[in-house]
């Protein structure tokens, strides 16, 4: 919820700033069509020497590491 709200700010601002010229004009409708990836295959993040394909170990490590971004862990 909060993520969306944060993003909404700049978007709203530019709508106001730049949208005026387009008043009365019909907004162009864009139809996105999801394509199918044509490029090279990529390996998974845990497919390497360190994690040896163990997804759970990788996810644990990610969670751990993520907490370093929360200073409340250490200052309270």
């Amino acid at each position: 919820m909060t993520v969306r709200r944060l993003l909404a700010i700049p978007l709203a601002v530019c709508l106001v700033a730049l949208g005026v010229a387009g008043c009365g004009e019909k907004p162009q409708v864009v139809n996105y069509k999801q394509g199918k990836y044509q490029g090279k295959p990529d390996s998974l993040a845990w497919e390497n020497e360190r994690f040896k394909g163990d997804q759970t170990a990788w996810e644990m490590q990610m969670r751990q590491r993520n907490l370093a971004q929360n200073e409340y862990q250490r200052i309270n």
């Binding site: 944060l6 700010i9 700049p10 069509k33 990836y37 090279k40 990529d42 390996s43 993040a45 971004q69």
Partner: protein, 213 residues
């Protein structure tokens, strides 16, 4: 399964560009290409707020949809990546992206557009994890090393959070709860009163970024 996300806390971002520089450093991004940038609203006046923006790794990514050669893919953890060998540098993705994330390094003397480059969530690209080829084309693959994006990890005030969407939402929620206490009374609005005051006193307004949420 972790879904990788960014969140920039506008109450904390001080526009120091630590994140921008961390990205340049970690991924050797050349001059003129900015995978990440800091945007400031109301610069120099009360209400000034900054936000660090890069590719948001959208769930329903417009760049993916418009690419005529279908060079985009999404990793298991939700990171949007592309294959530079396939990219034709047409720039459609740039137009489609709401954040202006895709970048086009100038290639050669005539200002021709090179292959698109963008934030990879520090997850490299479609080459062997940690290989030199991957690094040269896409930058570091920190995720495969068990690390998170350099920009978020080095943010000077921990405004920029990057990682598992659930975890960073938790971190952010803690802060907002704390703020609730003091800033209700001491937010901009209460501290400044009437909107018709001198230019140096901020007008009545609530800070963006969820002071009340």
């Amino acid at each position: 399964m972790a879904r990788m996300k960014f969140l920039c806390d506008a109450e904390r971002c001080i526009e120091c560009n630590g994140c921008v520089t961390a990205c340049k450093n970690e991924n050797e991004v050349p001059w003129g290409v900015n995978r990440r940038r800091v945007v400031t609203l109301n610069d120099g006046v009360p209400g000034e707020r900054s936000m660090s923006v890069a590719c948001m790794h959208c769930s329903d990514a417009p760049c993916m949809a418009v690419c005529p050669v279908d060079c985009f893919y999404k990793t298991a953890e939700g990171v949007v990546l592309h294959d530079k060998d396939l990219c034709i540098g047409c720039g459609y993705c740039f137009y489609a992206c709401p954040f202006g994330a895709p970048q086009f390094p100038q290639d050669g003397a005539f200002g021709l557009r090179g292959k698109m480059d963008k934030c990879t969530f520090c997850a490299g690209g479609p080459e062997a994890n940690g290989s030199e080829a991957e690094f040269k084309k896409y930058g570091r693959n920190r995720l495969s090393e068990g690390k998170l994006p350099a920009c978020a990890e080095m943010c000077s005030t921990k405004a920029l959070l990057g990682g598992d969407g659930d975890v960073i939402a938790d971190i952010y929620r803690t802060r907002v709860t704390r703020r609730g206490k003091g800033s209700e009374v001491w937010g901009w609005g209460t501290a400044y009163g009437r909107p018709d005051q001198q230019p140096q006193t901020p007008p009545q307004q609530q800070p963006q970024g969820g002071n009340k949420s």
